[in-house]
Amino acid sequence: MTADHQHGNDSPATRTEALEALLVKKGLVQSAAVDALVERYEQDIGPLRGARVVAEAWTDPAFRARLLEDGMPAIRELGFGDNTDAHVARLVVKENTDSVHNLVVCTLCSCYPWAVLGLPPAWYKSPAYRARAVREPRRLLAELGLDLSPDVEVRVWDSSAEVRYMVLPQRPRGTDGLGVEELTGLVTRDSMIGVEQL
């Protein structure tokens, strides 16, 4: 087991400063670049991309077909899919229907479709979610306010390799007249993970 001495008793903030100083000294990172990346995570990469993808799929059947066939080329059409998650093998989009509900988890770490949803929320990374989503998805969803009919099949996607999953939620009723921008505003992050319906 790893000895604790290299991790020290200092606060995480102090340890992070020491780590950054070492990595800079060794020439692996530049502090200015780190500043810029933190800002990018906070401001530019987020679930708004996924929401736009969903709205396009709701309004353009040909795009929807391409998205469900192979996610990464489809989101590149919208200008997404940059090197945010460069090692990823594929982006797979799973469509909710009247008879199938999809739910995404990563039980082994917290793999998440960064390219479309940004960084994962705290609850997605929590031991409770990772432990329960695969064993009792219906009970878990019910606790989170989503009571599924027994007729609806639940499909849980455990992201155990470099395939990333996103859920295409069902379009809410009464939105027929809305355009892509208005529809984008209706799509929540949690609906694209599968713990919410719109």
């Binding site: 780190v34 093998a89 770490c109 409770a128 009970r139 099949e153 639940v154 499909r155 155990s160 395939v163």
Partner: protein, 197 residues
């Protein structure tokens, strides 16, 4: 390895506290650790599999108490201690970009094939969750060959293998108390799978 990270199916963690509006990085150091990890790996400190394995090697109590970015910090400290000692140059990582690789053999399995996962307990890194070990499933999708995490994490090369999405009935995984009408899909590498008659 049979570690605390392998959480699928565990009891005792309580309810999921779903908050919708929390800050991405509640503390400043968490954002810096996130960015440092990306840059350090891109610059060759470690590949993604070695990084994940460094997290798995944490003492279990620290794994639970340090939180998500705390685990990243711990793993980066471990890797820095192991790999940045003295004046040795840092090697380029095996892969920075996509893990997809071309290999000169065909996939062993096709969609619809019945398979059983192997019953192995490797001490090193693996991506077969414990709850799906020695279980029967059906191939749902065949993906391209990818870098094999089990060898790549330990510096034993990429040895690419075909990747499959395998469907497991909830009852096969959780027995009689399983929820009805649920299927769990897991992405598994070819060596984990054997053909089932």
């Amino acid at each position: 390895m049979n570690g605390i990270h392998d959480m699928g199916g565990m009891h005792g963690f309580g309810a999921v506290d779903r908050r919708r509006d929390e800050a991405l990085f509640p503390e400043v150091w968490q954002g810096r650790v996130c960015a440092l990890a990306g840059y350090a790996m891109g610059a060759g400190l470690a590949n993604i599999d070695a990084f994940r394995h460094a997290i798995e090697r944490m003492p279990p109590d620290r794994y639970l108490s340090d939180g998500y970015y705390g685990r990243w910090l711990y793993a980066l400290e471990t890797l820095a201690a192991e790999r940045l000692g003295g004046d040795a140059a840092v090697e380029r990582p095996d892969h920075v970009g996509s893990v997809v690789r071309e290999i000169d053999r065909e996939p062993r399995f096709a969609v619809g094939n019945a398979v059983r996962t192997w019953n192995r307990h490797p001490q090193g890194h693996t991506r077969l969750p414990g709850y799906a070990r020695d279980r029967r499933g059906v191939i749902a999708e065949v993906h391209p060959a990818c870098v094999y995490p089990d060898t790549n994490a330990g510096g034993r090369g990429e040895s690419p293998e075909y990747l499959y999405t395998v469907a497991f009935e909830s009852r096969e995984l959780w027995g009689e108390e399983a929820e009805a009408g649920a299927t769990v899909y897991i992405d598994l590498f070819e060596p984990y799978l054997e053909a089932l008659e």
